[in-house]
């Protein structure tokens, strides 16, 4: 019970305590109000304290994610993800923790990185601690899974302030398929002193791939830095994905075939191989292999297919034949020209040995097809001089109409401009006409030659080669690039068909017989050109020459799906590198692999049908035994089990290959065999 004071007010202990509490709060609030007013009117805080108490803001840049580069079937050829560089502050760890856990830590680092030994890392960390290093580089190039593993190691699992682990992140480009097509995929160099900074698809489409960086401001709170959601926020726009036409399987086939054929020969500087879709001009594979120095390894260090132009040699003769056919100077491939002992009068060329051999065997005239088959220089020079000797301008104009003198816009930088001789130039001489007819005195890149042959395969319609199909972002196609037509018709359908026949003949009977046994019929042309020196001439002081061997063609010849070119380049050597050897062999390997996998070549069988009834039974086929010998039964059409049963019934051994029904046997049915002898059957 409380007391009653002199005025009669009722007081108790709780009331007094509450009143005291109230008075304290009152005093505190008066003081606070007074301080607030004073701070607003007149206060200059200590700069150090002001800095520590003012919530800090910082600007954070958001790097846009770089877009991917994808193959024709959507597989990723190039993508970006961050890599981590680890630094250690060697001064923050407690001495006993350091002493007890250092060995375990170093073993863990060595296991995770796999780059150095545990002893080396221990030496590094011990040295850093002795020096008092606060930012010592430990290792670089780690991915996030390795970073997580590092953060679990002893000492490092204590956080940055106690463990000393500092991770710096940097986005880097990665290529799942290694060096395949690397030059075509390309890269962007940060080094502004280098001339060629934007290489390949990465360089040409850098703007689309880069996206736009964003930024926002953060402010420090009691719990850490948080983003400010205000008008200062700039959203990052990620880069777009570039869809290419490259088929990575074709790229692999081409890369392996070219490497296998040129790697072992130290005289070969490098080579390139391009596969193109005939109907669309889409490039399915582009391989460029070059040695950086003599004897060095092959690498994708320069785009030879588009950048190295030179005299193409005999592959250019097809343009001469096309001109003759189009202008009616040659009516059919059976038209004949005089052999003249292989000598073009008035020009001083060496006699063409192909012609002299033919002349000895067949007489004084040679059909066009035979001259084309053996790639006779005499024949094409003769045709050019006979029909265009007085008007070379018309011949060159014809070559220009095939776009052999134009550089077209291409999906990567660096396509060298081709060159044709100019009859109106002061430098023109009459040998330029004969040179142009045989593939000299002109400059072409392998891609330009392929584009020309692709047009022949496509019935005269010249498609523009392209590498990029479309650009997409946010699961939506933003831009479609796709096929383009360079020329609707560079020649008539009839001319194209005639040329296809001629090119098939080259493979069947001529200089490209290495392709005769390919999985499908191939049509094409070989070319072997000496490479001209900058100083003029073709030989060095030792009489050695550089060669450029080419095979270009398309397959299958009866319904072309793909065109292909392979060019190899030699160093100075005494050896001649013909187009019919390494390039043809390489192309054959590629064609065989493509035929194994491309759906076009899949044989089909009906999904449903009636199984034909067997006209004879196994029992009817029992062999006749005469004098201990048996006649080999007829296994034709039998399944494997029936065939084995039949063979064993007669005491014969049976060996088989393939699956299905018997289509062939060795020895033939009816052949006399002794008991225990072997018959070989083939099933399909």
């Amino acid at each position: 019970m409380g007391k009653t004071d002199s005025n009669g007010s009722y007081r108790d202990r709780v009331g007094i305590l509450l009143y005291v509490f109230y008075l304290l709060m009152l005093v505190a609030s008066v003081f606070l109000i007074f301080r607030l007013v004073m701070i607003q009117l007149d206060f200059n805080p200590d700069p150090e304290i002001e800095k520590k108490l003012t919530p800090s803001s910082r600007r954070v840049k958001v790097e846009a994610a770089r877009g991917r580069i994808l193959s024709a079937d959507g597989r990723t050829l190039a993508m970006t993800y961050p890599e981590y560089t680890l630094f250690v502050d060697c001064t923050v760890q407690e001495a006993d923790v350091w002493r007890d856990s250092l060995d375990l830590l170093c073993r863990g680092i060595a296991r995770i990185t796999g780059k150095e030994t545990a002893a080396r890392y221990k030496e590094l960390l011990t040295g850093g601690r002795k020096r008092g290093s606060r930012y010592m580089k430990l290792c670089e190039g780690l991915d996030i899974t390795q970073l997580y593993a590092m953060e679990k190691l002893p000492i490092f699992n204590m956080g940055q302030n106690c463990g000393g682990l500092i991770a710096q992140t940097r986005n880097r480009r990665h290529y799942p398929f290694g060096t395949l097509g690397r030059r075509t995929i390309g890269f962007v160099r940060d080094n502004s002193e280098v001339r060629n900074r934007y290489v390949g698809i990465e360089g040409k489409f850098d703007e689309a791939l880069s996206g736009t960086d964003g930024e926002f401001w953060t402010e420090k709170t009691d719990f850490g830095h948080v983003q400010r959601y205000d008008t200062s926020f700039v959203k990052a726009c990620d880069g777009l994905d570039v869809h290419t036409t490259i088929d990575i399987d074709f790229q692999l086939f081409a890369d392996k075939a070219l490497r296998r054929n040129i790697e072992e020969d130290p005289n070969l500087e490098g080579g390139c191989l391009v596969v193109m879709d005939v109907r669309t001009g889409a490039i399915r594979a582009m391989v460029n292999l070059l040695r950086e120095k003599t004897g060095g390894p092959l690498g994708e260090i320069s785009n030879l297919a588009i950048g190295r132009k030179g005299e193409p040699g005999s592959v250019f003769k097809t343009s001469c034949l096309m001109t003759m056919l189009e202008d009616g100077h040659v009516k059919s491939l059976q038209d004949r020209i005089p052999t003249n002992r292989g000598v073009l009068p008035g020009y001083g060329y060496e006699p063409d040995t192909h012609i002299t051999s033919y002349e000895k065997a067949h007489g004084s005239s040679i059909p066009i097809i035979e001259g084309f088959k053996v790639s006779s220089n005499y024949m094409f020079r003769y045709l050019a001089v006979k029909h265009y000797g007085k008007r070379p301008k018309d011949y060159i104009a014809k070559l220009k109409s095939y776009h052999l003198g134009d550089a077209f816009e291409f999906d990567i930088e660096g396509l060298a401009a081709p060159a044709l001789p100019n009859p109106e130039s002061e430098m023109w001489s009459r040998t330029d006409l004969t040179g142009a007819a045989t593939g000299y005195a002109v400059d072409q890149t392998p891609l330009q030659i392929l584009t020309f042959y692709n047009a022949i395969a496509n019935g005269g319609r010249m498609m523009k080669p392209y590498l990029v199909d479309s650009i997409s972002g946010g699961n939506r196609t933003q831009k479609v690039l796709g096929p383009g037509v360079l020329e609707k018709s560079i020649c008539s359908r009839a001319t194209a068909d005639t040329l296809v026949r001629a090119l098939k003949y080259v493979v069947e009977e001529g200089t490209a017989t290495r392709l005769r046994g390919a999985r499908c019929q191939v049509a094409g042309k070989t070319g072997t050109a000496r490479v001209a020196l900058d100083s003029g001439g073709y030989s060095n002081r030792d009489g050695q020459k550089k060669y450029q061997g080419t095979f270009v063609g398309f397959f299958p010849a009866e319904d072309p799906q793909y065109s292909i070119i392979c060019t190899v380049y030699s160093y100075f050597s005494d050896k001649v590198y013909f187009g019919g050897t390494i390039p043809a062999a390489t192309v054959r390997e590629v064609i065989d692999r493509i035929c194994d996998t491309d759906p076009y070549w899949r044989p089909s069988i009906p999904e449903a049908g009636t199984v034909p009834s067997m006209e004879t039974t196994v029992g009817d086929r029992v062999a006749e035994v005469v004098n201990g010998e048996v006649k080999a039964p007829d296994f034709q059409g039998l399944g494997l089990r029936d065939a084995i049963a039949l063979a064993e019934a007669e005491g014969l051994e049976c060996r088989h290959c393939g699956t299905g029904h018997v289509t062939a046997q060795e020895p033939a049915p009816g052949t006399r065999l002794k008991s225990g002898e072997t018959v070989m059957i083939e099933l399909r």
């Binding site: 993800y81 899949r602 044989p603």
Partner: protein, 120 residues
């Protein structure tokens, strides 16, 4: 006038000291509203601190998401690598498998020329 002001100030000060200021102003009947205001002020302070805490959690989650996206990208990269023909062949060789690339293209089933099916 000045006397009135001083009397007012004196009364106010004595009311404050006695803890009767609001009662003398006649705000006793608005006690619930006054209490509500104080509670609201407390709620705002609490909400502000909670927001800070939530925003920090948002930042941590954002970092977590970024790391997960990075992890996803790396896994996609490794999957692409493993799916490559070359890697598949190397893996098969390492496992001692005799499986080799097809020498012939796969046969495909086409519709029967006269439209018959297996059930007919």
């Amino acid at each position: 006038m000045i006397k009135k002001i001083f009397r007012f100030l004196g009364n106010s000060l004595s009311a404050i000291l006695k803890g009767e200021f609001l009662v003398r102003l006649g705000l006793a009947r608005y006690f619930r509203q006054v209490l509500f205001v104080f509670l609201m002020i407390g709620a705002v302070i609490w909400a502000s601190l909670s927001i800070d805490s939530t925003l920090n959690r948002v930042e941590r989650n954002k970092k977590e998401l970024r790391d997960l996206r990075t992890l996803e990208t790396i896994k996609k990269f490794k999957l692409e690598q493993r799916q490559s023909r070359e890697m598949t062949l190397k893996t098969l060789e390492r496992m001692g498998s005799r499986l080799a690339p097809a020498q012939n293209p796969a046969v495909r089933l086409a519709d029967a020329p006269d439209g018959r099916t297996d059930t007919e």
